[in-house]
Amino acid sequence: MKRLLIMAFTLIMAVSVIFGGCDRKGEESKDAPEVTDEQNTGTSAVTEEKPPADPFGKYSPSVKVKWAKQANPATDFPEGDSYENSVWTRSLLEDMGIELELDWQVVDKQYETKMNLAIASNQLPDIMSLTDYTQFNRLAGADRIVDLTELYEDYASPLLKQYLMEDGGLSKSWATIGGKLMGLPRNGVNFQTTRKIFIRRDWFEESGMDKPETMEDVFDIARAFKNKDPERRYGLTLAKKILDDGLCDMRGVCNAVGAYPRAWIEDSSGNLVYGSVQPEMKKAIGIYADLHEEGLIDPEFAVKEAAQVAKQLTSGQIGISIGSFFLPGWPLSALYKSEGIEWDIYPLLPMSDYKGELKLLTNTPKGDMHVVRKGFKHPEVLLKIMNYEILKVSDPDNAEQEKFQSDENYNYAVTAPLYPIYGPLNKNFKTNVSVTKAIDNNDTSYIVTPQEKVQHGRVKAYFDAVNSGQTPKPNEWKAYKLFYGPDSSFGIQNYYFDNDMYITSKLVGFETPEMSRKKLTLETLEDTAVVAMITGSKPLDYFDEYVQEWRDLGGELIEYEVNEWWNSKK
């Protein structure tokens, strides 16, 4: 009996080892013909007469293109439409002869898993977006995606080239591996995610306090809010993703003392250092530890999701949030809709004893890419689709925003095959300037781009409603809070921009070997250590111990690797 068991086990293990080996072999041999296939088409393209590159040329007969979509769960379609059959797929077929065939679609967070499975089973769609820089790096290294260097020169429309280079070639440099352009970057630097201070107006007026000038003033206001009414439970928002949650993290206060958590920043000697383990960080944690002791932040913050904290804002439990630009859109517009509550937005303020320059940390771009599968016969399709999307959404002369961007009921831009659609890098910033000028001078000649038209219309409707004594719609209020005047979300962004107050992690979308191994461990260590020090379960002096632990667990090696890369780049 026992012997039989052992035999059965050994047999099964042997079989699984054999099959395991087969898997890999099978994959390799499957890869091989594909490469030769590509070489064939490559050489034939050279020997044949090369047709002149036309960025907007229509294919005749039409070309079938398989693609994959990272779907958004909340997307609403007009009757009968879907990702397979949308205004984009129909127009691309009609105008460009591109027949999009949706290979698969999956919702946001499962996309990476599904893409990994597609890679492992060698079933890549013809064009796809990669949401993970490591995937991109690996596919480029394994020669499974197309080198776009020449195609980009030939097929990218002037606007595409202009928009892509607006950040000085930064995002393009992430897409370039070994001197070859292997993809189109999906997002550039997201300047608008820097923090601002949102204060509830009715409570502020009631408190009779002066406008804040330092971070301490903000805390005083929070204190006054809380002491006024027991219904108001806390002073400030904070959620469990304490270092990088756009709604309610501690990044604003960190920046106010010169700390830049989760970012690689150049120090005075020109080396890159990791923001979360710098001495400034200890100060920021100390501030929050004091706030926690005083009861100004929710003691249960470490288990609160952003959505729950949003509820604390909308249900009148908290009156101050130091968050990202989108707060007026969500969740504050819900409160405006139900109770007409107004909010004031202030630029981030420094702590009174902070001597350095106030700099605001942007989100670290993830390095997402649009790429083309190697072996696909018409790799230029990727560029043509992007050209077309830009033409229809961002081109000042040709855009049809109502049809392709959004109308009153539906948002079409998010259903585009390559999303997000490129536009001027700081189009929201510029929209703020032109909308403000147009409203102040009552002169629509400032309104040029498609987005400006839409937002200007809403802001104007807002003022019309206010002037005639009616309540503006939430949508109009939102546009007003985002785009009108220097005190709007983007007005403040412009203030940051004009005063050169941005700082971005120098390390984008790139992972050193040790980082891919240890990143998760180290970030968990960071989170738990910071939470422990804020809640007081560890004293603030634990910080030094935590930094040492971070270094020992691989941080030191990562720092070395990062600087090696940084110096080689210089």
Partner: protein, 292 residues
């Protein structure tokens, strides 16, 4: 015995403990139920706890008018009917030979381990996906059914249940001229109703609640079963890549009442099945597992 004061104290604590445990399970559901019958603004503002505020049924009307939801619902029904049938058919005929003594069925131990091994180690996500892919069932409903067709744990339960059916019954049937198939269908299966009912519940619940396979094996959301579909509706949105377009959508996502209504509708069928099969349930579990 009842007069014993210690027993009474124990009972009080025991009941208090059990009631609080039951409340822990039931309250979240009542909360969702209350939200689903409340008005949108009240729900967003967090005013709803256990009783609906501004009672209305709008979100249910909306849910039933949404074709995606209805389609996903029927996909799930189809999956459960098909999946449970396949599960139960394969389980009952697989457990039968394995319940025989080694002398009757040569290699029984090997085949038992063949199944038991899957309880101890699994192939992992990618190899399983490759198998599903190569067998050509990806993106069909069979990809949700065949990979989980025989559950080794369920097999063990049924096998042990079969084993404790007296051998004399089988022998006398054999003497009366019954073949193996007749013995299985006329003797074993009717005698194992408690175990089979229990396993039916297990499998129904498993098929109804499973969402991950739908997401990885199916390519089109039209084919999604209800839980995969709900998963998409309910998950939170990441703020990392948010832009002005996405923000428009975020405002719509917060229709909490609608999401709650969908969760309630998804839970109701499973709740309805329990009372019918429950009387077999306890019996089946203990008989199958303890007497083996």
């Amino acid at each position: 015995m009842k007069n014993n004061i210690q027993d009474k104290i124990f009972d009080i604590f025991n009941y208090a403990f059990l009631i609080s445990l039951a409340l822990l399970c039931v309250l979240p559901f009542i909360h969702i139920l209350a939200i689903s019958f409340s008005s949108g603004p009240a729900a967003t503002a967090g005013k709803v706890t256990l009783w609906p505020v501004e009672f209305n049924t709008n979100s249910y009307i909306y849910a039933f008018s949404k074709p995606e939801f209805i389609r996903a619902f029927f996909n799930s029904v189809k999956r459960v009917l098909l999946g449970v049938t396949v599960n139960m058919a394969l389980l009952s005929i697989t457990a039968y030979p394995l319940s025989k003594p080694v002398g009757t069925f040569f290699g029984r131990t090997f085949f038992s381990w063949f199944f038991v091994v899957t309880m101890l180690v699994s192939g992992g996500l990618i190899p399983t996906y490759l198998v599903v892919n190569w067998t050509g069932i990806r993106d069909t409903i069979w990809s949700l059914i065949l990979p989980t067709a025989v559950n080794a744990f369920h097999l063990t339960i049924l096998l042990n249940f079969y084993r404790q059916i007296p051998r004399e019954l089988e022998e006398s049937a054999f003497l009366d001229g019954a073949g193996q198939w007749t013995i299985l269908f006329r003797l074993y299966i009717p005698l194992s109703i408690p175990a089979l009912a229990t396993l039916t519940i297990f499998n129904t619940v498993a098929h109804w609640n499973e969402w991950f396979h739908g997401i990885i094996y199916l390519d089109s959301m039209k084919k999604y079963p209800l839980q995969s579909y709900l998963r998409n509706v309910i998950i939170d949105v990441s703020f990392d890549t948010i832009d002005v377009n996405m923000m428009d959508i975020l405002a719509e996502v917060t229709s909490r009442t609608f999401r709650a209504a969908q969760v309630v509708i998804a839970t109701v069928p499973i709740i309805c099945i329990y009372p019918f099969l429950q009387r077999y349930f306890v019996k089946g579990m203990t008989l199958g597992s303890l007497k083996g």
